[in-house]
Amino acid sequence: MSEHSYRSTGKGVRVAVVDTGVSPEHPYVSNVVGGVGIGFDARGDVVYNEDDYLPETLWSHGQVCAGLISHRVPDSEIYSVKILDENGTGHPAALVAAIKWCIDNDINVVNISLGTTGEKWAAKLQAECVRATKGGMILVAATHVGGLISYPSVFPETIGVGKDNRYKGYEYGYFPARIAEYVAAGSDELALEIANVQTEPGTYVSLASGTSAATARISAVIAALLEEMPRLDLAGVKDELIERQTRLPLRRSLTANLPQNLRDDNFDMQMPDLSWMRRIVIYPYDMKTHPILAFVDAFKFQVDGVVDPIHSSAHGKDAGVVYSKEPLNVPIFAELNDIPTSVDTLIIGNTDALSRGLHEDILFRILTWTVENNKNVFSFCPVESHVYRNLYESARKKNLIWYSPSNFLSAIWNTNTQELEQDIDTPVIGIFGTSYNQGKLTTQLALRKRLADAGYEIGCIGTNPIHALLEDGNCVIQDKRIPRYISLGDQIAYLRVSMAETFRRRPHLILASSHGGIIPPKLYNTNTPDFPEDYTLPALAFLMASKPDAMILTINTIDDEDYIQRSLTTLEAISQGKVVALTFADKLVHKDAYSYKQRWGRRLRPEEISRLRKRYETTFGLPIFCPDIQEQQIQLAQHIIEVFAVD
C-alpha cells in the first residue's frame, strides 16, 4: 500500500503482535498469515484457539501496532496473538502463554505493546522470556509511559521501548541506562486512531499514549534487520540497533530552527488568564517581590508603584534607583493610601514578617483596603475565602478578583491528566540552591530573558508565586499554609503533572526553579524552628519530579566549599543530570543565612566578583555567573546554549 524506499521489506521474517488481535481485512495490514486467541477455560487453564485471533473492531490497539509494522515491512508475516479484549485488558497468564505459543511457532520478532506493573507474574514471565531469547527470538516491549517499572519491558531479555517524538517515522534513538533504552516516535498521523483503552487495577495496562506505537516501530525495524541478517540474536540485534540509530543533535529542540509541527496547538492552554491585571502596585516591596521589578519586561502589566511600609528612608524615591541603581520610574509609596486610583490590582507579597512585627493581621488590613478601593488581588500568601469570608463576599459583589496560591493549585488539580503527554522531550534545566533567598529566581528569570532574546521559547516552572505571573510560567505551590496542601508523599506526582502542563506549550527549553529547600546536607535543619524538618523534602521532590537534564546550582558566597561540593554531588547523584553552572548574587548574604532572618548585606565589588568567579571555577571546574549583572546574564545564556548545542 505505502510507498517507501527501504531495501529490506521483512521478507521471511515472522512477527507476532501480542495484543487485541489483528485483522487481515484492514487496509494497512494485508500480511496477516495466522494467529491464535488465548483465553481461559472454566478451571482457569489456558486455552489456545487458533481460529479466534481477530480483533473485535477494526480500529483496535493491536491493529494500529500491526499497521505500523506492516507499513515498514510489508513482506513480513504477521501473526496475531490475541490476549487482550476489546477494552484492552487481559491477564498476565495469557502473556506467558502467548510467548510460549510464539516459541512453539518459530516467531522471530514478538511485538508486545503492553505490559503489567504487577509483580505477581513477573518471575513466570521472565522465565518464559529467557526461554524465548535462548531460542533466538527477539522480544520488543513497551515501557510504562509514566516511567513506572513495567514487565516485561524492564527484563534484560526484552528490548524496552519508549516514546520520543523528536524522532520521525521509523527513526529511533538509543539511551543507555534508561528504562526506555530505545525510543521512537509515538503517535503520529499514521497511528492516529489508537484506541483509548480503559485500565483496571491488576490487569494489563494498554500503553496507548505513545510507547505502544513506538514499540511497533522498533519491531518493524528489527524485522527489517533480521531479513538482512537472519542469524542475529538479541545481543546482536541490540548492537546493530545502536549502530544504526538516528543520532539527533544532542538537543534538537534547542536549535534555532525547531520544526514548528512539533507544537501542539490543539490543547487548550489552561494557563491562568491574567488579563485583568493591567496596572499594578506591589505591597510590600521586599526581597521576595523585587524580581517583579528587576524583570518587569517579563510581565504584561504595568507597575505603577510599590509600597514599602518598612524602609522609610526609601519613601518617595524611585525603586530602581534605590535597589538597582538604574531608574525604573516606579515610585516607592509609604502606605496603601498613596496608591493612585488608576491601579486595578494589588500584588500582595509575603506579609508574615510584617504581621509578626506589628502584631496585627496585615493581610486583613490590606484586603480590606482593596475591597474598599475596588482593587483586584494577586497574593503570594494564601488568601482563603473561608478565612476572610465577609471581605470575600464584598469583593465578589463588586466583581473583584482574588487570585492566590490555592488558585494555582486548583489549576493543576483540575487538569485532565489523561490528556497530558507525560514524556517530556524538551531539555529541562533545574535551578537549585544551597539555601533560600539567594537568587534562584533571579537566575531563572535572567536566563529566561536572555534565551528569549536569542530566539528560544522557554517554559518556566517553579515554586515562587511569581511563576504564576509569567505568561509561560507555571507555579507549583509548595506552601504549607494553604488548606489543600499536597502532602509530601504526593508531591512528586503533582509536580510531574505540572511539568507536563508546562510542556504542553512545547517550549524549546524548560527552566525549573526549585523551592528554597536545601539539598542535601542539612536534610534536617533543627536550628530553624520556623521551618519544619521536612523543609528540604519539597526540594528533593522537585528535583526528582523535574528530572533535569542539566542543573544550575545557586550558591551563597559565604558557603563552605565542602558544602557546595556535597550539594553538587547529591544533585547529580539523585537526578543523574549534570550541574553545568553555578550562579551567585551580587550581594553578600548575612552570616545567619540559614536561620530565620536572612538578609542581604553589602554589594560585592566588581574585583571581588571576578576574584570569586575565578576561585569557584578553579575549585569546581564549573563556570559561574552573577545573574544580577547583565553581561553575565548573556554569558550564562550563551553557556547554556553551548551545553545543548550540536557538535
Binding site: S312, V322, L358, H359, I558, D559, D560, L588, W600, R602
Partner: protein, 568 residues
C-alpha cells in the same frame, strides 16, 4: 600550599610508614560566639582583663611575624599542665596533639621533612618527626585541619544601603539617657571627671517631648522586630522618675500588642513604693549596682558628701523584695564592679550568704582602665587579686565534679560563674562544624552601630550605644530630626575596620569581642587602643582555652550542659 610528599624524602626509609589512625587525634570542637550582639556588657572591660592568668605570665597577646606567615597552618598552640593542644582557627576546633606535632606544626608547609628532621634532631628521632608530619598531613587532607587558609581581606558585611535598610526595620532597642545627673559620686565612674573623653555629671534632664519622639522613632523603625526594648540610663535615671513613668505609659499605649521590654540601670538609692509598683507591673529588668559587702561597696559608691550608699540600698532592696520576692529574684541583676584593693573571698562570701544578694544573675566587671587616673593612687599590693586563684580552683572543681548547675546555679556558684564562667562558656564544646574562613571576612566582634542599643541623649542626639562618649561627635549617629545616619555609621565602621589588617592573622578572630566604642578616643579611633584591646582579647582567649581544657582533662563532660545553650 605545596605539601611535600612524605614518601619522597631522602632520609626516611623507602617503606611507607604506618599511618597514624586519626582517632589518636582527639578533636574537641568549640563554638563560635557569633556576632557578639552588644549586650549590656558591651564597652566595659571583661573581668578577664583585670584578673591574672595562671599561664599567661610569659604570654603577650601580640601577633608576631611567625603568625603572619601565610604558609604556616593557621593555628594557635597552647599547653595545659598535662597536655599539648592546637587550636585550629579555620575549623574553630581544639585538637589535642603529641609534643612532636606541637613542636613541628609551625614548620608544616614551610620546611621539608628533611629540614625538620635536621632542625629538631636534638629532640626527636627522624621516625618521630615523620610520624608527626604524617599525622598533620593526614588531618589536613582528611579533616581540613591545620590549613593555612587565611582571609585575604577584612571587610564589613554591610554597606550603606543595607545598613540603611536595617536602620529602617530593625532598631530593636532604645536607650534613653534621661538625665546626666547622679546623686552619687562613685570615684571610679566614667562620668566622675577622671576619664579624659567622657562628659562629667551635670544637671541635664530629658524632656518628655524628646523621649516621646525617641519612642515614636523606635516604633517606626522596628517594624520587623517581634518585640522592642526600652532602657533608661543616666546618670541615675530615677532622678527623672516622672519622665520614666510617662514614657512607660506612652510606650504601652502606642506599641499595642507588641511586647515592650523595659530595662533600667540604677544605683537603687531613690526607690519609692510607687516606683517598685511600676517596675513589677511592667516587668522591668533592673541592673542594680552593688559592689559587695558594706565595707567594699561604700569604698567608692559614695554620695557627694563621701557617705556610703550601702545602707540606703539595702533598705530599698528589702522593700522591693518584700513586695514581690519572685520579681526580686528573677528581674534584678547585680552589676558588681571589682575595684582595688581586691578581696575575692569576701565578695564570694557576701554573694553566697547575704539575703540581699539572692538574685539569679550578676555581672562582674572591672573598673574601666582606659584613659583614667583612677588607678594612679594604688600600690602594687592593692592591685593584687587576693583570693582569686582559690576561687577559680573551686569553680573548676565544681565543673569537674558536675556540681555546677547552669540553669539554676546554686547560690554558692553564682558569683564564681559571673566571674569565670562567661569566657569558658563561649568556648562551648559542641559538635557544630565550622566552615573555613571565606576570602573576605570580618570578625564578629563589632556590632551594627546603633542597632542594638540606640542611645538618645537629653538633647535628642543619637549615639551608637549608651557607652559612647557623648562629649565627642565620633559616635554620634544623627538625631531625632534627621534620623539614623547610615553614612556616618558606615564611615565609623570603615575607619575602625581599616585600622589595620591584623584580623587576617588573628587566631582569636572567631571569638572576637572587641568593640569599636572601646577604641574611640575623642574624635577618632585610636589604632593603638584598638591594638591593645585586641592583645587583651587574645590573651583572654588564650587563657580561656587553657582553662577549658584543664577542666575537660579531668571531666570531658564538664561542659556538656552547654550543648543546648544558644549564644546570641
Amino acid at each position: 600550599m605545596k605539601l611535600i610528599s612524605y614518601q619522597s624524602q631522602k632520609t626516611g626509609s623507602k617503606e611507607r610508614q604506618e599511618l597514624i589512625p586519626l582517632e589518636h587525634l582527639q578533636v574537641v570542637d568549640s563554638q563560635e560566639t557569633g556576632c557578639s550582639s552588644c549586650s549590656s556588657d558591651c564597652g566595659s572591660p571583661s573581668i578577664s582583663s583585670v584578673i591574672e592568668k595562671k599561664s599567661s605570665n610569659s604570654f603577650s597577646g601580640e601577633l608576631g611575624e611567625r603568625e603572619r606567615d601565610l604558609r604556616r597552618p593557621f593555628v594557635h598552640k597552647f599547653k595545659t599542665e598535662k597536655q599539648h593542644y592546637v587550636y585550629d582557627v579555620n575549623r574553630d576546633r581544639i585538637i589535642q596533639v603529641s609534643p612532636v606535632v606541637y613542636d613541628i606544626i609551625d614548620d608544616f608547609g614551610v620546611l621539608s621533612v628533611e629540614d625538620m628532621v635536621e632542625k629538631y634532631s636534638s629532640q626527636y628521632t627522624p621516625g618521630q618527626i615523620g610520624e608527626g608530619f604524617q599525622m598533620i598531613r593526614s588531618a589536613n587532607s582528611h579533616e581540613g585541619l591545620f590549613s593555612n587558609n587565611h582571609p585575604s581581606e577584612i571587610m564589613y558585611p554591610l554597606d550603606e544601603q543595607s545598613l540603611r535598610n536595617l536602620y529602617d526595620e530593625d532598631v530593636r532597642s532604645l536607650c534613653l539617657g534621661v538625665t546626666e545627673q547622679c546623686n552619687l559620686r562613685c570615684s571610679y565612674c566614667s562620668f566622675s571627671g577622671t576619664y579624659e573623653f567622657h562628659r562629667a555629671h551635670n544637671s541635664t534632664f530629658m524632656e518628655f517631648e524628646v523621649a516621646r519622639r525617641g519612642i515614636d522613632f523606635l516604633r517606626q523603625h522596628s517594624i520587623l522586630c517581634d518585640y522592642v526594648s526600652i532602657s533608661f540610663y543616666g546618670g541615675e535615671p530615677l532622678l527623672n522618675a516622672s519622665l520614666i513613668k510617662e514614657c512607660v505609659e506612652y510606650a504601652n499605649g502606642i506599641f499595642g500588642r507588641k511586647p515592650v521590654e523595659y530595662n533600667m540601670t540604677t544605683n537603687a538609692t531613690l526607690i519609692t513604693d510607687e516606683i517598685c509598683k511600676m517596675w513589677i507591673d511592667n516587668d522591668f529588668h533592673l541592673m542594680v549596682s552593688l559592689d559587695g559587702p558594706k565595707e567594699m561597696h561604700d569604698r567608692y559608691r559614695v554620695n557627694g558628701a563621701d557617705r556610703g550608699s550601702f545602707d540606703k540600698i539595702a533598705y530599698n532592696l528589702k522593700r522591693l523584695h518584700d513586695m514581690s520576692p519572685d520579681y526580686y529574684r528573677n528581674n534584678i541583676k547585680f552589676s558588681v564592679v571589682l575595684s582595688p584593693p581586691y578581696d575575692f573571698e569576701a565578695l564570694n562570701d557576701f554573694f553566697m550568704h547575704d539575703p540581699l544578694a539572692d538574685v539569679r544573675t550578676m555581672r562582674v566587671s572591672g573598673v574601666d582602665t582606659q584613659d583614667t587616673t583612677f588607678f594612679d593612687d594604688f600600690t602594687r599590693s592593692d592591685l593584687k587579686k587576693k583570693g582569686m586563684t582559690e576561687l577559680k580552683e573551686s569553680f573548676f572543681d565544681a565543673l569537674i565534679h558536675n556540681e555546677y548547675e547552669h540553669d539554676r546555679p546554686d547560690r554558692k556558684h553564682r558569683f564564681m560563674q559571673a566571674l569565670f564562667g562567661d569566657g569558658l562558656e563561649k568556648l562551648i564544646p559542641t559538635m557544630v562544624p565550622t566552615n573555613p574562613f571565606p576570602e573576605v571576612y570580618h570578625p564578629g566582634g563589632i556590632c551594627v552601630p546603633g542597632l542594638k542599643k540606640l542611645f538618645v541623649t537629653p538633647a535628642g542626639d543619637f549615639f551608637t550605644c549608651e557607652k559612647s562618649s557623648t562629649a565627642a561627635d565620633l559616635l554620634r549617629l544623627g538625631n531625632l530630626d534627621i534620623g539614623l545616619d547610615a553614612a556616618k555609621g558606615m564611615a565609623n565602621i570603615e575607619s575602625y575596620s581599616h585600622a589595620h589588617d591584623g584580623c587576617r592573622f588573628c587566631y582569636a578572630s572567631r571569638h572576637c569581642d572587641t568593640c569599636f566604642v572601646k577604641a574611640s578616643a575623642g574624635e577618632k579611633f585610636d589604632g593603638k587602643l584598638k591594638m591593645s584591646n585586641c592583645n587583651k582579647h587574645r590573651e583572654n582567649f588564650h587563657g580561656n582555652l587553657i582553662d577549658a581544657m584543664t577542666v575537660m582533662e579531668e571531666n570531658p563532660a564538664a561542659f556538656d550542659y552547654l550543648k543546648d545553650v544558644e549564644i546570641s
